[in-house]
Symmetry: C2
Subunit: 330 residues, 2 copies
């Protein structure tokens, strides 16, 4: 068993240096944050668990960044700008100081990158798997949070970035050489898929565009098909999703060409951390222009219709049944 | 293994009914809270772990309430009023629906009692011990958060409520019949100590009085002596703490009369969740009156002095060395 410094020493050595002003140096009972005038607070919490949401041998900096980024992705989908976050860390007794140092460095790098400072935290030891729980706080101008209930009949369903990279990256990692389609990918393509699993790319650069143009939105974390179902159900509408239209990276396209059933893996696998939006047709091109300015594609993948029929999923022009619409981490 | 409903069903059946308006029915990616004008937000996170911070066979409602109350105690010590909280729950695979139902009922009862609604959450399964992480959000008028750095030479050190009940309740529970002093306690006194361990009584009713009268404050969670040391160190001052003055319940007094070394257990054992304050002498009586109005005593236990000498702890007029000043859960 490694002997770590006590909690006070860990905080002052590793976490205070990466903390924001509102953290009060992580030396008080609580953090302090000005309540932004004319705003509403947007609050979200997500937990990631070793060997469920990440691998225990993932680089510690990547674990920290994933824990923060899955929360940032929720803020992005709501059109919110980040204000800061709190960290609850359940460490195994064998966690080393080197691991924690790299973890805090990764966390600090992303806190700076996304303008989302560490405000407070708590650290406990556990016999169980290492677990990272982050609560992120963002803001929107009052009345402007983009809701999951906002999709309206006539809207276009659209999604940012590319879908399925992370799910295919996870497959590559789990199946090793058994993934027959591995060999059709260049090393760079394999690395791209692996990286998208290891490190989500939340679309916070698009938060203002989402706020300006989307009628409703949610982040895609549990699989595109299942999340689209949740989205439409929450909005009390129906719709269609065309799998031929879902945006794929070159790497994912190569994998799917070699192994066509990987398309369904991509569409249901989860961990995409893209933004799924409902967009009024007259907003689509302006929205796409703003996304292009941030070097992220926005792709129309379906449409919202009236009624409460379940989402229709189409492939090659025919409706197909997708039973396992999403991946449940739970 | 028990088969629990899926996460969406758990949320809609157990947690949505106890959630506040800002939770949006726990059906969106994030919660929404108006940013209170002229205010600062006070943010804190605390994690409790089975068999570290509570016993795995504690009533589930009490586990939920303790998880919320340890956070409410931080808000109380900062003079902040609660706005709401987010819950991150790591459940064992053998957690039953009955357990979770009782957990959510306890949580809902305290959310109502303290005016601190559930705003959002995340639930994961773990192979490790059941872990509850809560992030609480409060508010103070801008500039009025009571800080740990605020103690000034000349201030009186004072503490709310009684000290040591929880530590002695834990001893009773751990030592069973081995605790020789058990027999001097009436069943009601034993129950009092056990209850103070099981269920903290955070001093949120005193938050406004703390804000009005205390120069600085912190909550006592890790043991009075150690927390007083932290408090004075954070404030850059020195001071004295008189163990003869610490407020004791009748039950704790009876235990200490029978077993005098229980005084040190009481003063260092932790889990008190009282407010330790530095109070200018001219504020003391007004502060005490307000506390009495809430039926909670406020007791002077020492004084703040200039300099950076370590806290002097006195007993029966002589300075004593207290090596283990606080209990570390970590």
């Amino acid at each position: 068993m490694t002997v770590l410094p006590d909690e006070d020493a860990l905080i002052s050595q590793l976490f205070a240096p990466i903390a924001g002003a509102g953290s009060l140096g992580l030396r008080d009972d609580a953090a302090l944050l000005p309540a932004p005038a004319g705003s509403e607070l947007v609050l979200t919490v997500d937990v990631i668990v070793a060997d469920v949401h990440f691998f225990r041998d993932d680089p510690p900096g990547a674990v920290a960044r994933k824990a923060l980024r899955v929360n940032l992705s929720d803020l992005a989908a709501k059109g919110a700008e980040p204000l800061g976050f709190l960290l609850a860390l359940s460490l195994r007794r064998d966690t080393s100081l080197a691991w924690l140092t790299a973890f805090s460095e990764g966390l600090g790098a992303d806190a700076r990158l996304y303008g989302c400072p560490l405000l407070g935290g708590d650290t406990v030891r556990t016999e169980g798997p290492l677990t990272v729980s982050i609560t992120a706080i963002g803001r929107v101008p009052t009345g402007y949070m983009v809701r999951r209930t906002g999709a309206r009949p006539g809207d276009i369903l659209a999604v940012t970035g590319t879908i399925g990279d992370s799910a295919l990256g996870l497959r590559l990692r789990l199946d090793g050489q058994e993934a027959g389609w591995r060999d059709v990918l260049t090393p760079a393509e394999q690395a791209h898929l692996a990286r998208r699993y290891l490190l989500p790319e939340p679309r916070n650069a698009l938060a203002l565009a989402v706020r300006e143009h989307a009628s409703g939105a949610m982040d895609v974390s549990d699989g595109l098909v299942g999340d689209a179902r949740k989205f439409l159900r929450a909005s009390g509408v129906s719709g269609e999703l065309d799998l031929d239209c879902i945006p794929l990276s070159l790497a994912a396209r190569a994998a799917i060409t070699a192994a066509p059933d990987m398309l369904l893996a991509a569409a249901t696998g989860g961990d995409d951390y893209e933004v799924l939006c409902a967009v009024a047709p007259e907003h689509l091109s302006g929205f796409q222009r703003q996304c292009a300015g941030a070097k992220v594609p926005l792709t129309a993948i379906g449409r919202v219709t009236a009624g409460d029929a379940p989402l229709a999923v189409r492939l090659h022009g025919a409706e197909i049944a997708v039973m396992q619409g999403s991946f449940s981490h739970f």
